[in-house]
Symmetry: C2
């Protein structure tokens, strides 16, 4: 993977493995990707807290990883997951973070 | 939208509106997003060429935009599209850029 384009990070698109719904976009550094692959639970790098972040560690809403796919440039990944806990991925209590339409 | 977190850019996840397949991840600046909404064709900001990039302008494989969704932090978008031309989104001639699995 190429982590050089965004100061050590790559975008990680989290997609529901069953429905195909895009649930959230996070960022991973090299270690977050390694942990995601090793543990089969999605781990991100929090840009605001500048630390690794096991998604759902406190809420229980962990993301069990089925597959990780990379693109042609190796500078982003799609993480196909099964939602655990109450199934809410967004901290606002919705299944997906992408709930609002952007209009002109 | 919040363009401050990545030096004026946000990740834009391109998703096939019919199948739900994630086709590519690009980046948009404020102008690329405005053009995407105004023209209903996906326009990105090329980080390597440092210029706006109307996807498919030369190949004809444009991405007709059905909907743009933003997330809870307003720092990324999902662009739901219909593929035009030969339907190949990746420059390598595949429908999606995400073709390879990452393993431990």
């Amino acid at each position: 993977m190429d982590f050089t384009k965004l100061n050590g990070l790559i975008p990680a698109v989290v997609q529901d493995d069953e429905s195909g719904e895009v649930l959230m976009v996070g960022f991973m550094n090299d270690e977050a990707l390694r942990l995601t692959l090793d543990t089969a639970y999605a781990t991100f790098y929090s840009r605001s807290r500048q630390t690794l972040w096991l998604k759902g560690e406190t809420s229980g809403n962990r993301l069990a990883v089925r597959r990780v796919l990379t693109d042609c440039d190796d500078d982003s990944v799609v993480v196909r997951v099964v939602r655990e806990g109450d199934g809410h991925v967004c901290h606002r209590g919705t299944r997906s973070c992408f709930t609002r339409e952007v209009r002109r």
